[in-house]
Symmetry: C3
């Protein structure tokens, strides 16, 4: 029953995600959805500014939020348990997606999380500013958002950015066992428990909407007065010298040829939806 | 000045607790109350559904909440410092009780905490869904509530479920030193500090009341469509094959003879109230 | 561009801080301010009750809060990133100051944090009761506030009291690298991100104002019925037998000659403001 959604551009991921979420929300058998990455090195690496649905797309989203925030809110509030299995890089939108999930488990050896937008003069638009404090506390949320630096799995666990850092060899089994266990429970009870926890730990939609507006406003203005290698270093991160935004990276648009900024050479990351219903074992897709 | 409340059924514990709390609330000398367990293996293991006061009992509770939530709210908001010393199992209502205390210290070797209600298709009714996020953050609160699995003391500390995991041999001294220290301080200042912290970290009473209603509603409905060994495994937990709910366990009522579900063979857990006034050393009761 | 503010009495620190904050708030180049201590053993050790501006000084503060709360709120909400580098003792007002900063990094070997006010029957007046739960969670915030005990850097990190404990030899470089990195980013984006995080993690001003009123009320009343060595032990802390409040210590005023309570023999702690603008390396002042 595992299903896969992939897109070579984030707008496709967003649209596919919205369509897929509608199906997941209405399927009475779906109790758990595990999100992982089809490309080993990436969880979900970027949000495609150029191809993103315009802000007018907002009107059609069930939550009334813009397309990306709608996806995140429905992951966070939907009638199923959402688990992010993070094996590669979860930066920017990838981190935002993971933060919207109910739980996050990260490969000790391979996971990298960050919100690097600040390095480009951008305000992250998927409300990580409003989700991180409920996970890491205020001080560590500010550190993550204001430095834009990378966090490996062990530090992410110490900070509460992920639930737990798990040795890579054990990660699949760990998450599968948890998904199967949860999928054996009563869906009504799972949904009520999730809603109750959300009453004291989810940011209001109107606060989230502000982050999206701030993101577009920051993308439209010149990226600040400072321009140093740190800006790009923050973006590319210590684990790679490649920008993970590809052809849609705002830096490449506004500052072509800048040092340390090259389009990625690997294939575009794809994103996989993986649902677990009662009595089913999660299937790993090839 | 140590006093003991014990009951062979949870309804007695609840009624005794309500009576006892009235005395504690009005005693100008009581600064600290340490809660521990009289039976080595248990902190407080269960809430007695069959014998529990009916929902109509609500009207007489000072907080206006139902009996069990009234006990928990008065522990959390009362004019004394409440410390849970957790040496054995604190599952279900035992965990809820510990979560209502101001602080929690757990035996590294022997403590086990969990909210296993979800494994029976139940929604926990003592508002752990609303208390855990203020201790562990949203992601770990969801994990604890949605998996129903056991947490040992060290993992509970990493998650913030308890303040600290303490080696068993040092636990009594550690808690006693802290209780004596706090009991030497000014009661008015202690009460004001506790109230100030509560202003930003206690769930509203009306949110708590919803969890009690959801608990009774979930106990009344068939326990969901799925019925696998995981359901019982979640309940009994890895540390024991015995159900800790005894004769009032909803599983034994609705599914007699189910594998892995047997009534407990040890005596019913008892609960001990232990108060520490100024200048007094905590006394361990036999 | 490093600048220093020092005062031999806290009232001077407060007034200087308010003046300095006005300049920092209006300087379009200031992105990061690092606060550390000019005296090795202290971060900021005390608040000077005797010399403190009267409550009527409130009317002139931009936030409408009393002088000390005004300083703290402007650190927490100002258009610059504030980092506390904690190498020595940050007790009482020093801890309150650190808690108001966006991030806190502590010397593993030398940092000590605490809110020891409770040991004197005082309610801390700089709203640590309302800030700590957003960093450490409710249970650990209550422990810190109700025990008044000292926390070294490693335990402070485990509790979330500081972002991270850093080996002393690496602390200066760690904080400098972070400050330079952040200072290379766009100021508008930094400010918006800080504001967004604050929307879900800063206590309301009116709640903060209550703590100041409770502090003055607690300072005016007799310090409770209990009077034991623990009271002073809590204040002086395990790392020193000297009271860190000096001549203005309420204990020395109300209980002269009490055992274990002696005026400090070192010079009065001074406090240093250290700002980092874009492209500037933080300078360590002699």
């Amino acid at each position: 029953m595992g299903r896969q959604v992939s897109g070579t551009r984030s707008s496709e991921v967003t649209v596919n995600a919205q369509q897929r979420l509608g199906a997941l929300e209405q399927d009475p058998e779906v109790r758990v959805v595990v999100f992982n990455s089809a490309v080993p090195d990436f969880f979900l690496a970027h949000y495609d500014i150029a191809a993103a649905p315009s802000r007018s797309a907002t009107s059609t989203a069930p939550t009334g939020l813009s397309a990306w925030l709608d996806v995140l809110a429905r992951i966070a509030e939907g009638p199923f348990v959402s688990i992010a299995k993070i094996r590669g890089r979860a930066r920017g939108a990838g981190s935002e997606f993971a933060l919207a999930c109910d739980m996050r488990f990260a490969s000790r050896e391979h996971a990298v999380l960050s919100q690097p937008e600040i390095g480009l003069g951008l305000v992250a638009g998927g409300a990580p500013t409003h989700r991180l404090p409920f996970l890491t506390g205020r001080g560590r949320a500010l550190e993550i958002m204001l430095t834009g630096q990378d966090y490996d799995a062990d530090l992410a666990e110490r900070y509460g950015y992920v639930n737990r850092s798990v040795p890579d060899a054990a990660l699949d089994g760990f998450v599968a066992d948890m998904a199967v266990r949860i999928a054996s429970f009563d869906k009504a009870a799972l949904t009520e428990v999730k809603a109750f926890v959300g009453e004291v730990s989810l940011p209001a939609h109107d606060l989230q909407a502000c982050t999206s507006r701030a993101f577009w406003a920051s993308a439209a203005r010149p990226a600040g007065s400072g321009s140093t290698p740190h800006r790009n270093r923050a973006w590319a991160g210590p684990a790679t010298s490649r920008c993970t935004w590809g052809s849609t990276c705002p830096v490449s648009t506004t500052r072509p040829g800048r040092d340390g900024h090259r389009p990625p050479t690997t294939s575009t990351p794809r994103h996989r939806f993986h649902r677990t219903a009662a009595h089913q074992h999660p299937k790993e897709l090839p």
